[in-house]
Amino acid sequence: MLSKMVRTVANQLIVFIVIFGLYVIAHGQVTPGGGFQGGAVIVSGVVMLLVAFNSKELKKSLRERTLSIMESTGALIFAALAFAGIGTAFFYNLLVGTPIFGHVPPTGANPGDIWTGGVVPLMNLAVGIKVVAGLSAVVLAMALFSSGEEVEE
């Protein structure tokens, strides 16, 4: 547990880091970025909280059962979206042209439009949730083991 100044600054900075990570995940089809990159940004914010506070304090907010349910949900949604277009092929992009994420952008250089992409933005969200839950569980388990605690189920 570091001094009071470090704890206060970490409490204020975590909001901006999470918002920036969600921005990188959500704009995956317009700018460089996507699911894996935005998930890594949010995990670096969680590591900053782990350094500022004690690992026993952080265990009360991030229980392992919640993280496990989040990771399994992300993987199941990804697999369900892959099986949705099984009528034509595996991984068929079936939302191009329909009113959900279905605009087709004009060919060539253009200012970007978020409401495009088909199945890809939903897959970005599922992979982002999976990466955040998985990597923060790994970091929390390593910190708890090194300080002599017991990792519960």
């Binding site: 317009v30 700018t31 460089p32 952008p105 253009n110 200012p111 083991f145």
Partner: protein
């Protein structure tokens, strides 16, 4: 744009892989071995990205792109997958080192060679 003398990006990737191979063969500390494996992964990723570059090309994204040719997008997608896989394998290796240190008390790879009961 004239040609680069001596192919500098490929030379840097070969240097990284060569130094990492030297570390893996000749060092005995476990943490240094893991650092050597991570360095070899970085060298391979750099080589993959440098394979698909076209002279004077832009990034393969159509939002406000200046006119000109684009670089190849497929090696960049393969490098993304490779980076995530190397992170997963590195996390598993570090937990094994934590368990070995808790069990034997030293980080030397020569002291934990024989399998005891």
């Amino acid at each position: 744009m004239e040609q680069m003398p001596l192919n500098f990006p490929f030379l840097a990737a070969a240097l990284l892989v060569g130094i990492a191979f030297f570390i893996i063969i000749f060092k005995r500390n476990l943490i240094k071995l893991i650092m050597g494996i991570a360095m070899m992964a970085s060298g391979v990723n750099l080589f993959l990205v440098a394979l698909g570059y076209r002279a004077g090309g832009n990034a393969p994204i159509y939002t406000d792109v200046p006119p000109g040719p684009m670089v190849f997008p497929v090696p960049q997608a393969l490098t993304l997958t490779s980076i995530v896989i190397s992170v997963a394998v590195l996390a598993l290796m570090l937990t094994m080192v934590i368990r070995i240190y808790r069990h034997t008390g030293s980080l030397d790879s020569e002291k934990s060679r024989r399998m005891k009961g």
